[in-house]
Amino acid sequence: MAGEFTEAQTARFLRTLRVATQTALAQYALSGGRAVSRPAMTFMALAAKGPGEWRFPASGLVSADGLVVAKLVSEASAPLVLELQAQGVVGLSLYANRSARVTFTAGHVAEGAFDRDGRMRLSFEGVAIAEVDLARFELELTDDAS
């Protein structure tokens, strides 16, 4: 059956398959599975599971697109605060003055807004959440860009 195709046709098919599937995947990732809006952006720590208690890295976690850095502010007797800072001109132009939602793997959802400097602070006051619960979360803009 396969003998009915020439080598050149097979090469064209393989090339088409590779280009079409990977371009479609890249497009899907950039659009978050939706037609036009921006996707939820993932923050994921490496080796969050280990023999010892996992600690949020002092250098912060970088979003998968590299446009936001999340740092955990932890002070004695104060509730944990997750601070997200947009990076660079592209990060600022995308996130400054925008409302956003952060969804943590433990199921907790927090909403807030980036200020004009591209910073958003989420306080966990009254929320039972451990550092390990912050090893992976997603950031999603909730308003329309205008």
Partner: protein
Amino acid sequence: MSSGSAPKSGRDIVAYFAGHLANLVNGNDSLSEAEENVVIKPFSLFEKVHRTLVANRKYSEVLVGVWAYPPPNTVEDAADFYFDHVIDRPIGSRGEGPSSADNLANLIGSRAVGPSPPRPQVPLSIWKALVGGATTLKRFVEQKDLFELSNRILKCLDAANRPYAEVLRLGLCPKEWLVGDDAVGVNTLKAANAFLKALKSEMKGVFGRRPTPAELEAAFKTAPVPGYKEAKSFAATLLGSAILTRVAGQDETFLTSFEAVEQTLGEQLEAESDEPLMDAEEAAPFLEIAVSAGAIEAEEKRLLVAIMAGRSLAEVMGSNLYLRRRLKTDFGNDLEAYINDLSSRTARFISAAGRARP
């Protein structure tokens, strides 16, 4: 979204990166479908590409190979170097005709809205082909047009990425072997990789030691490096010595990374295809054979046909219960893993069928 976690072969990553660049150039990360034109802003595009190379582990590990850069280099340094020596590497033509970068520039030029500045008569890089022309482009709205943009970027990447990937495949740092006094040409790098492959075979998987003289000679006999009469003389060079030091090292990263990087180098059969991409109708008979042989399911064939016909993944998956069940049951809702698996299964089958041709 699954893009951060799905396993991906090296070959897929190069094509994915080409697709990623095509989508960024087309403004698919920020513009709505209704917007007809995209304004190319070089600095903004550079920042998006650079940050993605730094932050996306698929890129930083396999494409950029940050593991090969010794301290004090950071992932930022590695991404900088990758940008300068792959994405902005001038691509020469292989004969009289235009280079792959010229073809990319021509495609970009064909979408220009308004006047375009004249391009300098020098070999173009991927970057200069993308941003060196008109600042406003008519967007690649039709999916087949976006595929063609992605295809042309991929052809450029296949050429521009080659020397870089060959150095990584040796387990060495591109910054040390692609520039400066010790820079090595791509043909020597290819030959050195063939030698290394033969040597690994002779060493029968027992690494973390120096190969014996007999293993070295046997490997050299199988895959000689041009310019050297015997293994001993090649092993005495800076490059040969660096390769043997890597093989003798205890760091498994440098050994396990060879295979992933090897896959970033395009298959000969496919790389030689300069024909236009197929449309869904032309591809369907290949997929039909894969279904008949049990390599893929009938519903999976429909999925691939739909992708090639330009329907979005979200739309196709949303309208097919079988595919959604399969995605959930076998791939933990990781769409990227599923599509990669499906694409690999199909490609393996068609390649094998092609090789079996009398």
